[in-house]
Amino acid sequence: MLDYNFHWRPVFKSLPDLLAAGLTTLEIAALSMVLGIIFGLALALIRMHMRGPLKWVASAWVELARNTPALFQLFFFGFGLGAVGIHMSPYVIVLAALSFNCAGYLAENFRGGFQAIPDTQIRAARSLGMTAWQSYTRIIIPQVFRIVYHPLTNQIVWAVLMSSLGMLVGFRELSGETQALASRTYRIFEYFAVTAVIYYVIVKIILGASRLLSARLFRY
């Protein structure tokens, strides 16, 4: 039935390259998460507290990020902006597209988190003499963080998985590196099988670390 000879040797020989590319994947996922959290928080606060053009921009961002494919967003940042003279390296394209996408999804999570905290808590904090900044950073944010912790973890996993789209714009993260190596040796299945295992391990490590961290953070 199976008359295909597997050749794993070239794959194992290039395992160091693959693992190095795996670090690139982690790096871009982590960076896009940081940017996604900053922008997502800003988008959520703008959509909740502001009116006018800024709110429209924020709403358009969130809805576009959530209602179009990530691959489309990647092409838009790559080819679309390239047409109007904005040329970016594959690294920046992937980072921009991933951050754009993450910010949109996280904004909705943050908004849900903020709405779960009753308004009365802000008033209570303010009447105890806290400044607006203090009541946000000491009362609201810690509670919101607890609510969005699990969605945040899921989003990190999504960022890792989504960064694999980088191979379609020539970015040499784990998938891009795998494709480059595979097309050199024609061992496509073997290479991608090993890459799949690496992705699986990365995701499991992230989920495990998140569980350990949450056990420490949310003890009480």
Partner: protein, 220 residues
């Protein structure tokens, strides 16, 4: 001066029809995959719920793999693996197979969550009224649990619709692949990507809004 021949020709009205046809193919592959995936996922979810540790040891990890490996890697792996076992699948069928399994692995979690959302007392009451196990599932668990997880299911379904853009890497001419083909001919990436994005948005946004209003109505 004789007119210069050009490989490139501008965007024509007929191209809009071409994109619309491609959008239809996106709908086709999505609806097919979501239907099969939801059917399988509901069964898997039921097995995960009833199977306890036996399912947690066997089915759980298998489904987990499909959630932890990037979809694009799954597609490339399956497309290269199928011929080895004598299956000659075209890109469309390969896409349907992988998208369905991917969808099923996500729906399984949703379905299990829905079954867990129905309280034990409710189910005991149903059985005490003389309902059989299957009647209990059909007339008690499905309406109550189904409502509880309907919004998450819509989220999964829309996610699969957007992820169907990845089948373009196998060469299936859906919306995103069609726009790439047009970009190559017309050299107008910004215009064509905007139209393609508008198609995706038009498919996804109304459904997500409808699900959100349903969720609100059921919550009150």
């Amino acid at each position: 001066m004789e007119p210069t021949m050009s490989f490139f020709s501008g965007f024509q009205p007929s191209d809009l029809l071409y994109l619309a046809e491609a959008a239809w193919r996106t709908v086709l592959i999505s609806v097919l995959s979501i239907s099969i995936g939801t059917f399988l996922g509901a069964i898997f979810g039921w097995m995960m719920y009833e199977g306890k540790w036996a399912a947690a040891l066997t089915l759980g990890p298998v489904l987990d793999v499909f959630r932890s490996v990037p979809l694009i890697i799954q597609l490339v792996l399956f497309y290269n693996f199928a011929p080895m076992i004598g299956l000659n699948l075209d890109p469309f069928l390969s896409g349907v197979v992988i998208l369905s399994i991917y969808c099923a692995s996500l729906v399984a979690n949703v379905a299990r969550g829905g079954m867990e959302a129905v309280g034990q007392p409710m189910r005991r009451a149903a059985r005490s009224l003389g309902m059989s196990y299957w009647q209990d599932l059909r007339y008690v668990v499905l309406p109550i649990g189904g409502r509880a997880v309907f919004p998450s299911w819509v989220g999964v379904a829309l996610g699969v619709m957007k992820d169907s853009a990845l089948v373009s890497v196998l060469g299936y001419v859906e919306l995103l692949k069609a726009s790439q083909i047009l970009i190559t001919r017309t050299q107008e990436p910004l215009l064509i990507l905007t139209i393609a994005g508008a198609f995706y948005f038009a498919l996804s946004y109304p459904i997500s809004r409808y699900a959100a209003t349903l969720e609100k109505r059921w919550a009150s």
